[in-house]
Symmetry: C2
Subunit: 149 residues, 2 copies
DNA sequence: GAATATCCTGAAATTGAATTTCATCATCAT
DNA sequence: ATGATGATGAAATTCAATTTCAGGATATTC
């Protein structure tokens, strides 16, 4: 984690940016937070230890991390976007409409078929999004206790 | 087309709704418009023949069509949502980031693999979205003339 | 270690799509 | 015709996201 933060720091400097206390707190908070956080959730969380931090800074910092390739923006159609760290390999998402749980999965076969489709249309892909919405095992079984989010 | 509009009319009546001139214009405009329109585009278009129609009515009418199963809401991350008619069979989208062209494709193999994935996680799918972003044949070849949208 | 250019900040203002409110009008059932 | 209720357009509101702005912090140059 320390090494990661230092590396990001160096990249920001190399790109003409400067260090800042607030940004450091947000970046570390982001990597420590559970994945798929909203800006609002992350803001609330970093403010516990650094209450002066404004939401605008959190927005700005996550855009920055996205530009540097360390974060990915997600949109599960909830109104607010979510962010995940981009350290783990590519994957897609199962999103439970009841409890909000997000299950990540990886399927190289699907990816291969996607490549076939794009090739068939002479299309040059740069990114894709695949989300499957529905009910997770627990919620589908009716045991659904409470809404997590 | 006439039969379709009449059928929708009947369904609205059956559900306790009433007819209205504005709504009829919007619905017909929607099915006549090219696919994947934004509310703003559709509003502009219906106002050519019915300038009194407000944007709120277009929003409301498309939500209604969605509820009845005749329209689908799309979000290509452009800020504004798009809508497509839900008459043709299920398909996914290739979205060109240069010219905005949307290519529809259908791939039952991908769908099957998706089912496998969900089953593997005990997940009960209700919907999914798969979009591949990149550059269409024309834009990728550099001939890209102008931005259509 | 001062000077300075420039970046970063938090608060507040702004944007823009989407939704809601509200007074009025239109449509359906009787 | 009449009454009940749905639908309308304009305006107000919501809400996430972005931008503005004046002040503060940080790197760089000497």
């Amino acid at each position: 984690m320390k090494r990661l933060l230092e590396r990001i720091d160096r990249e920001i400097l190399a790109a003409g940016g400067k260090r800042s206390r607030s940004r450091a707190v947000v970046i570390e908070g982001f990597f420590r937070a559970r994945d798929h956080v909203t800006i609002e959730e992350l803001t609330r969380s970093v403010r516990e230890s650094a209450p002066w931090i404004g939401a605008a800074t959190v927005y700005r910092t996550l855009k920055l991390l996205e530009r540097l390739g360390y974060a990915k923006e997600l949109d599960f159609g909830e109104g607010a976007r979510r962010y995940e760290s981009n350290l783990s390999p590519h994957h897609d998402h199962l999103v439970c409409r009841q409890c909000g749980t997000v299950i990540e999965f990886e399927d190289t076969e699907i990816e291969n078929l996607q490549d076939l489709v794009t090739r068939r249309h002479g299309f040059h892909p740069t990114a894709h999004r695949l989300e499957i919405y529905g009910f997770c095992r627990i919620c589908a079984s009716g045991e659904s206790a409470e809404r997590v989010r």
